[in-house]
């Protein structure tokens, strides 16, 4: 499985090497750059290199590792910031300084850290594959340590342990470790998928009330630059009602990530009171980090998210932005000289994307627990044009579409979600839940709110021609009410106390606006002037 480099073009390397399989991970050159076999042609393998190939020479060695690109899963993932290949950036920084240089031998999980292992089974027990033999507590999370293959347990440890040594042995002497490796491109198994019905409360009124999310659902919000995608992603990351958040900075800004880290370190999770970082895992590949690793980053993140889902947790995966992943795919495809599809994107863009979205869902895990993996992804369409391939491919598979509107953003209406164009396929089921649990009038108010906003749209066109003065009192009242809905309800300041709004408060707020409207309308019917009706209403 050793070979030599015969050609290099950007991040694509061809090598003369035998004995490797498709998707195998290989180490390229004297520096041992990580790469993945993407094509086999006779004795030649085409390798996608995940690091900068500058200075790489023809004739340098290529070594097969005999396995696929994997992530390491186990205690110690939480609060860590990884790059797209799961290198722990804090420890990389400690090793090689503030600039990212190639460095080897920094394992993703700290193997020296001490954990407490609590065994469920004892020596002499027969265990089946996937059966839980014990657990390790990591903050609020309990990691289940499972037997990889069936067999009879020999020695089982208890108490303090590290990830470097086995926590138990089989009778034949082979060890069971607290960490496991999983190929990033293979979805983790579960018993069965469940229909997603429970709401995921984001704390954003416009989302929870008009376009609700569910646990195990998928959502996208496309928007041109400056429409507030990143702020919205981060606000949801802070307040959403999930056990664990995996945040992927995919091809975005470095300063933004630094800001996020600092904020998450200091901010408290309002449910538990602990630091937000203690429920967050960050995977980051900024726009100037190697493009192939950017392609891998969302898979690294989703595999980590699935691992926590399998512990019976509700996990939220946020990615900013999936368009950068699409572009990485396009760059790689073009360096492989593949036939391009629409706008230069490879023809497999939509199938890859659909397969990725399918890794979301509410599931019954192999251990019988209920877990969910929800995805909320931002999309950055070039020129703010939603007809481009990535947005369109996402639209075919996603359950919630939140359209970010440049015009709203320019008038500083944040979150700039366009209420006329967005939709949620989960709305019907979730509205029932909110009506039953939060406010009996939830469904009715939602309907009225939509109607008012819709009628305003029509009235606005009239008002632009005849002037607001020319409208009838009833219509002017409607315009006033919808203005309140827009300014006081749909707008939400991401920085103040209003950044999170519980469903109860959402319902109360909408109730108050509608009640005022109803009183004023009743006043108008009795023949009062608009000003009198409003005064009476207030």
């Amino acid at each position: 499985m050793d070979g030599l480099i015969t050609g290099i073009s950007g991040p694509t390397v061809t090598a003369k090497i035998g004995g490797v399989k498709l998707c195998d991970m290989v180490l390229v050159g004297h520096a041992g750059l990580v790469g993945e076999v993407v094509r086999l042609e006779g004795e030649q393998a085409v390798v996608q290199v995940y690091e900068n190939t500058l200075g790489l020479g023809v004739g340098e060695p290529v070594v097969g590792t005999g396995g696929q690109l994997t992530v390491t899963l186990g205690p110690g993932l939480v609060s860590t910031m990884y790059d797209g290949l799961q290198r722990p950036l804090e420890r990389v920084r400690a090793a090689v300084g503030p600039f990212i240089r190639p460095c080897r031998d920094i394992p993703p999980l700290d193997t020296a850290a001490e954990w407490r292992f609590e065994p469920d089974r004892k020596a002499g027990d027969e265990v089946g594959a996937g059966e839980v033999i014990g657990r390790i507590r990591e903050g609020a999370f309990v990691h289940l340590i499972t037997a990889p293959v069936p067999g009879r347990l020999g020695e089982v440890r208890s108490g303090s342990c590290t990830l470097a040594e086995p926590v138990a042995h089989y009778e034949d002497g082979s060890g069971i470790f607290a960490l496991q490796k999983w190929p990033v491109r293979r979805p983790r198994p579960f018993r069965r998928k469940l229909p997603p019905v429970l709401p995921l409360v984001t704390g954003q009124r416009v989302i929870d009330f008009l376009f609700p999310m569910v646990r195990g659902g998928t959502a996208i919000f496309p928007g041109g630059f400056g429409t507030g995608k990143t702020i919205l992603e981060q606000t949801i990351a802070k307040f959403a009602d999930a056990d664990l958040v995996v945040y992927v900075g995919c091809g975005e800004r470095g300063n933004e990530m630094a800001e996020l880290l600092e904020e998450f370190r200091t901010l408290k999770d309002q449910r538990t009171g602990a630091s937000l970082l203690s429920r967050t895992i960050v995977v980051v590949n900024t726009s100037n980090m190697p493009v192939a690793a950017r392609e891998a980053s969302i898979y690294t993140a989703v595999t980590i998210a699935e691992y926590y889902r399998d512990l019976g947790l509700h996990v939220l995966l946020l990615a900013d932005s999936i368009s950068r992943w699409g572009e990485a795919l396009r760059e790689i495809s073009s360096s492989l000289e593949e036939m391009p599809g629409e706008e230069g994107y490879p023809t497999y863009l939509s199938s890859r994307l659909a397969a990725f979205f399918e890794r979301a869902g509410a599931v019954e895990t192999l251990n019988g627990a209920i877990g969910s993996l929800t995805m909320i992804l931002s999309v950055s369409p070039p020129g703010g044009d939603f007809s481009e391939p990535v947005t369109q491919a996402c639209l075919r598979t996603t359950g919630v579409f939140l359209m970010l509107d440049a015009a709203l953003a320019h008038s500083r209406h944040y979150p700039a979600i366009n209420w006329a164009q967005s939709y949620s396929l989960y709305a019907a089921g979730v509205t029932g839940h909110f009506t039953a649990r939060v406010a009996p009038a939830w469904g009715e108010m939602q309907q009225r709110c939509r109607e008012l906003l819709q009628r305003e749209e029509t009235l606005r066109e009239v008002a632009e021609i005849v002037g607001a003065e020319g409208l009838q009192d009833g219509d002017r009242l409607l315009m006033m009410t919808t203005e309140r809905i827009r300014n006081e309800f749909l707008c939400q300041n991401a920085y103040g106390d209003d950044a999170f709004c519980a469903p109860e408060r959402t319902a109360a707020k909408m109730g108050a606006i509608l009640a005022l409207h109803d009183r004023a309308e009743a006043g108008l019917k009795q023949g009062l002037s608009l000003d009198e009706a409003l005064a009476g209403g207030a």
């Binding site: 015969t6 050609g7 290099i8 073009s9 950007g10 061809t14 900068n52 500058l54 200075g55 790489l56 020479g57 023809v58 004739g59 910031m81 950036l89 804090e90 990389v92 920084r93 300084g97 503030p98 600039f99 990212i100 041109g224 630059f225 400056g226 900075g249 091809g251 800004r253 470095g254 300063n255 933004e256 990530m257 630094a258 800001e259 880290l261 980051v284 900024t286 726009s287 100037n288 980090m289 493009v291 572009e327 990485a328 396009r330 760059e331 073009s334 706008e343 230069g344 950055s380 070039p382 020129g383 703010g384 044009d385 320019h410 008038s411 500083r412 632009e464 002037g467 607001a468 003065e469």
Partner: protein, 440 residues
């Protein structure tokens, strides 16, 4: 390092700035080569692609006069930038050769040209206010240290006057000043001399990398990388605050497209290569601050939007990478407002951290929000005025019209004079008071 020099006379084909050499053994990606023309001239080149024994080389210089008998010498080394404090005050061309008549400096160290990505965990959040002297920027779209904030201009708008104004007037909180790295890409001689005059007036130091309109296109791709390597050195090794002005990114992207087409790569939107986002990011993302290090790199690229179109790939991709944008408006320029900044589509993403107590003034956010909100309303009403006429409008709307006009004339418009942040905020506050629109 190899012990002997590898020389080849096996050029197979030449086209544009690209050269194919055959039968090459053991060369590396990005390796520097020298090409000796039949008449003895030597130019530099770089390995772009290796396929077996055939090597594609990009030539930094004129390829006219080359023939298939040219000699290509491989160096076994990738391109490095010579770095030293004595760069300050010097003018170089796109290949880092001095063009100010003085001899080359002696490097203190050599650094990579493309730079390495800053580890996101090592970045310090940009939050130190920079006073540019322009109210439209300082009050409403505040620039902070370590930010990258492009100026989106249109052909014929005074982007160079705005950029030069910032060069002249920018001050750090506490009155500190910048070292400027000025990168001119494809500038006409006329523009170039304008900027050089502005730089000569500055009290602090500058380093200039100049690639004029008639100079090799390939050097246009190299000059900003040298400029940024130099900025990173001055900032992170010497602890200086560096302001990098790159003008014009549109010329850079056109050069990228030209070279990409010569390489017969698949074109993306409007013929620009598909990797333009990553390529631009490899420039813009080099701005920033590093924890525990004194210096900073702040970037002000100038982008001329072709056809005044903000959705054109160049401003579009730029806007996706940078932390906001300052958009110049043709309409304001025609009405004689200087600087003609349209504050509605302009944005500074890092403003939040750089203003308020400890940075500028406690009432900064309130004043900015109030000005913005009322001006946005005024602009909306202006649209209605075109339909219903001023007479058909409510009194409140007419007030907003007047407010928008006064805001453009008095707050945005300030002429050549420098305004401190205090004066800028006071101007905004005075206007709000005059229209009885107190910030709450």
């Amino acid at each position: 390092m190899r012990l002997s020099e590898h020389r080849y006379r096996t050029v197979a084909s030449v086209g544009g700035p690209l050269l194919f050499v055959e039968g090459v053994v053991n060369c590396r990606m990005g390796e520097m080569v020298r090409i000796i023309y039949p008449d003895g001239t030597a130019v530099a080149g770089e390995v772009l692609k290796i396929s077996g024994r055939t090597v594609l080389i990009q030539v930094f210089g004129e390829t006219a006069g080359i023939d298939l008998g040219a000699e290509v010498i491989f160096s076994d080394a990738v391109r490095r930038a010579p770095l030293s404090r004595s760069m300050v005050g010097r003018v170089f061309n796109g290949s880092f050769e001095p063009i100010d008549g003085l001899p080359m400096f002696i490097p203190e160290q050599w650094g990579g040209v493309n730079g390495l990505p800053i580890n996101p965990t090592a970045r310090a959040c940009p939050e130190e206010f920079i006073e540019t002297g322009f109210t439209a920027i300082d009050t409403l779209n505040t620039l902070v240290k370590g930010q990258k904030l492009p100026i989106f201009s249109c052909a014929g708008l005074p982007s160079r006057e705005v950029a030069a104004g910032i060069l002249r007037n920018a001050r750090l909180a506490g009155g500190g000043e910048f070292v400027v790295v000025f990168v001119a890409l494809g500038l006409t001689h006329h523009d170039y001399s304008f900027y050089m005059d502005a730089l000569q007036e500055m009290r602090t130091g500058f380093v200039a990398f100049v690639n004029r309109a008639d100079e090799p296109v390939v050097e246009r791709l190299l000059a900003p990388r040298f400029g940024l390597a130099c900025a990173e050195y001055l900032a992170f090794s010497c602890g200086m605050d560096v302001l990098v002005v790159v003008t014009d990114i549109t010329n850079y992207c056109d050069a990228l497209r030209e070279v990409s087409t010569a390489r017969e790569e698949l074109p993306g939107r409007r013929g620009y290569p598909g990797y333009m986002y990553s390529d631009l990011a490899s420039l813009y993302e080099r701005a920033g601050r590093i924890q525990g290090t004194a210096g900073s790199v702040t970037m002000l690229p100038v982008v001329t939007m072709p056809e005044d179109d903000i959705t054109h790939p160049i401003p579009d991709l730029t806007g996706y990478i940078t932390e906001g944008q300052i958009v110049l408006s043709r309409e304001l320029h025609q009405r004689g407002v200087f600087p003609p900044v349209d504050v509605l589509p302009s944005l500074s993403r890092l403003m939040q951290r750089g203003i308020g107590p400890g940075h500028t003034r406690d009432d900064h956010r309130r004043i900015a929000d109030a000005l913005y909100r009322h001006y946005a309303k005024g602009r909306y009403v202006r649209g209605l005025e075109a339909v219903v006429g001023r007479e058909g409008m409510m009194e409140a709307d007419r007030v907003m019209l007047d407010f928008a006009d006064a805001f453009e004339a008095e707050v945005i418009g300030q002429g050549e004079a420098r305004r401190g942040i205090g004066a800028s905020l006071d101007a905004g506050l005075a206007l709000l008071k005059r229209f009885s629109l107190e910030p709450p």
